[in-house]
């Protein structure tokens, strides 16, 4: 089996060109042969006529035969004349031993063409000639055609090899790039220049897939790095605290405080790990898991109610304005998504500030907006708020923040539900997060209770 696509293309190409050349050459040779043969036949018929005209019956089965001098030049045509009973009357040099045919007509015999006619006077006339010259002519034509065909074939082979190579060179580039990616060079891309349309589409699709692959791997790598950073600080706290406590004899109170420090650090690490697990679960959430149609306004109300103590502690005013709308999804996850945003709005607010939660139907989507009166997010940070472990560090301390995964989780959950999260912020005025979800059209009365009553 021929493996190379280029070779296979060439084999097919060669087979087709050879066939075309062979059919063309064969047809031409056949037609030339046929034309030549009918010319010979016409020539023979004319000669037979001349000879018949020169034959005079002389009574009792005998004939007089005298060719006019003008007609005696026979060219290459020979003749033999018989009486009906087979007695030769006259023959030319070559015609002497020609066997007598049984019936009138044309025959080819031993490289010769012979025409037999019966004259009105009862004689048999045979004229014939050698076909050697015609055969020579056809053979030389065939040789010429063979040479020309061979040249055409050779040319088309070379051209085909080159064209196939050129047409297939993007494939070489594609496989080269794929190999580089396989070896770990994720920045490798297939050069797009001079790629013809069909392959161009393939290249475009592959490069797009490579982009997404690289982005996702980069995200993964960044997340891993961020997680290790986040875990390092509590780990360092535990490690330093234990080293200090074990460094020498301490008081019981000092030991007690050291253990409390370790417990807090462990709690922080646990929070990070739990958020990560949730994040991983959301990432692998399939559509099958997201199947109940629930009241979005109930979920929003629940999220706000759950966080009321925290809001009261900070002296915040929380207002909720919802409309009855259903969404299809996982109610617990949706509650978590909304809770995260509301919790942020409470944590990053000014004392005595406001949190306004509004639900609207907008452009065919259910919009849940959560607005705070906090310090806002600087424009340069706005694109980063959904990144894992991002904290608007210029204004916020670690105390106010959670594990830094809340908004990442929210975005993942909302996107899994076919929606998206947008964030707008004005420095000094506040931040508005809007969760935009496709809503269910089934009648609201038929919907199950969104969340388990606690």
């Amino acid at each position: 089996m021929v493996e190379s696509l280029r070779t296979r293309l060439l084999v097919w190409h060669t087979a087709i060109v050879t066939m075309v050349v062979a059919i063309f050459g064969g047809t031409v040779c056949y037609l030339v042969w046929r034309t030549g043969l009918s010319d010979v036949d016409a020539e023979l018929a004319a000669r037979a006529q001349t000879i018949s005209g020169a034959l005079r019956p002389a009574g009792r089965g005998t004939f007089d035969f005298t060719l006019a001098p003008a007609d005696s030049a026979s060219g290459s045509i020979y003749h033999i004349l018989w009486t009906l009973d087979g007695t030769p009357i006259d023959w030319s040099e070559e015609g002497e031993n020609v066997p007598r045919p049984s019936a009138p007509g044309t025959r080819s015999r031993d490289g010769r063409r012979e025409l037999t006619v019966h004259t009105a006077g009862g004689a048999v006339v045979l004229v014939g000639r050698s076909l050697a010259d015609l055969q020579r002519e056809v053979w030389s034509l065939a040789a010429l055609l063979l040479a020309a065909g061979g040249a055409v074939l050779a040319l088309s082979l070379i051209a085909g090899w080159l064209f196939a190579g050129r047409a297939l060179s993007p494939i070489t580039r594609i496989s080269g790039t794929a190999r580089r990616m396989m070896q770990g060079d994720l920045s490798a891309r297939i050069p797009a220049e001079r790629v013809e349309t069909e392959l161009g589409q393939v290249v475009g699709a592959l490069n797009g897939a490579f982009d997404r692959l690289q982005a996702s791997l980069d995200r993964q790598r960044r997340l891993t790095a961020d997680v290790s950073h986040e875990l390092r600080t509590p780990l360092a706290t535990v490690s330093a605290e234990v080293q200090w406590a074990l460094g020498r004899e301490r008081t019981v109170d000092a030991y007690r405080e050291s253990l409390a420090v370790c417990r807090r650090a462990a709690g922080r690490m646990q929070a990070i790990v739990e958020r990560l697990l949730t994040l991983a679960r959301v990432e692998t959430l399939t559509n099958r898991d997201v199947s109940v149609t629930v009241r979005l306004d109930e979920i929003v109300g629940r999220a706000v109610a759950d966080l009321a103590p925290q809001a009261a502690e900070r002296g915040l005013t929380v207002t909720v304005d919802t409309i009855p709308l259903g969404v299809t999804g996982d109610p617990d996850r949706l509650l978590e998504a909304i809770t995260n945003v509301v919790a942020n709005a409470i944590a990053y607010n000014v004392p005595e500030g406001r949190v306004t939660v509004t639900m609207r139907e907008h452009e065919g989507l259910a919009d849940v907006s959560i607005a705070d009166t906090g310090v806002g997010i600087s424009p340069s940070d706005l694109g980063l708020v959904f990144d894992p472990f991002f904290r608007a560090d210029h204004a916020r301390t670690r105390d106010a923040g959670g594990a830094g995964l809340g908004l990442t989780l929210t975005r993942s959950i909302i996107e899994r539900h076919g929606g998206r999260v947008v964030c707008a912020s004005e420095h000094g005025t506040g931040t508005v997060f809007t969760l935009r979800l496709p809503f269910a059209t089934s009648p609201i009365e038929e919907l199950a209770l969104s969340v388990d009553p606690r």
């Binding site: 360092a236 706290t237 330093a240 200090w244």
Partner: protein, 218 residues
């Protein structure tokens, strides 16, 4: 020796302060970049322990501003950022040392001592003053091969005077390097410690320049 610890994680900050105080450092703490930079610019610390991921102003920025202002205080970066590129970038910003979390307390202390020695152009921890032999790493003082017991404060005063050997060191400088902001300071505390030192080491070691301060001759 007075240190500034800039660290936003409160527990770690407290642990560091306690551990370094155990090593006879006077320790000031700061929980964010703004406050840390302000302190670093206005107090003559012997060394600064600086976290990088800080609220309000990043550690990187603190470092840059500090060096732009011409401050040569030794800075050791103590951070969770463990990439080689982070180390390189921050050493190039003007950090003198780089230690990643989690870390060994002993190593941190040793590195801080090394930084302070180097800043005083005394890379060797062993110093001889007359018949005194002082080991700056072990914080021990020997007279004629016999160890002399010193209190933490006494040792710190001796160390500071030795590091600035040949220079007159003002009382205010001494107290700035020996006491953190939280310490309650009596006005004659330094004089009391110096008198005690002279009793233990011999009167001639530390000289008084009236109205200027104290001096150990080069």
């Amino acid at each position: 020796m007075r240190l500034l610890v800039v660290e936003d994680e409160p527990d770690l900050q407290r642990t560091l302060a306690r551990a370094l105080a155990d090593e006879h450092f006077a320790v000031d703490t700061s929980g964010d970049g703004d406050d840390g930079l302000f302190r670093a610019l206005h107090v003559d610390y012997d060394a600064i322990v600086l976290d990088l991921m800080l609220p309000r102003r990043s550690g990187e920025e603190v470092l840059e501003r500090l060096r732009q202002a011409g401050k040569t205080t030794p800075v050791i970066v103590l951070t969770a950022k463990d990439l080689g590129s982070d180390r390189v970038a921050n050493l190039n910003r003007g950090a003198d040392d780089y230690l990643t979390k989690p870390f060994l307390l002993e190593e941190l202390v040793a590195r801080i001592h090394a930084l302070i020695r180097r800043a005083a152009r005394q890379p060797s921890p062993a110093v001889n003053v007359g018949d005194l032999r002082i080991n700056l790493a072990a914080r021990r003082v020997y007279k004629n091969d016999e160890e002399i017991e010193l209190t933490g404060r006494e040792y710190s005063i001796l160390e500071l005077l030795v590091r600035r050997r040949g220079d007159v060191v003002a009382r205010t400088t001494l107290s700035e390097h020996l006491y953190s902001d939280d310490s309650e300071l009596m006005s004659n505390a330094i004089d009391v410690h110096v008198a005690s030192l002279r009793r233990k080491l011999g009167a001639a070691v530390i000289q008084t320049r009236r109205g200027l301060g104290y001096l150990i001759d080069g």
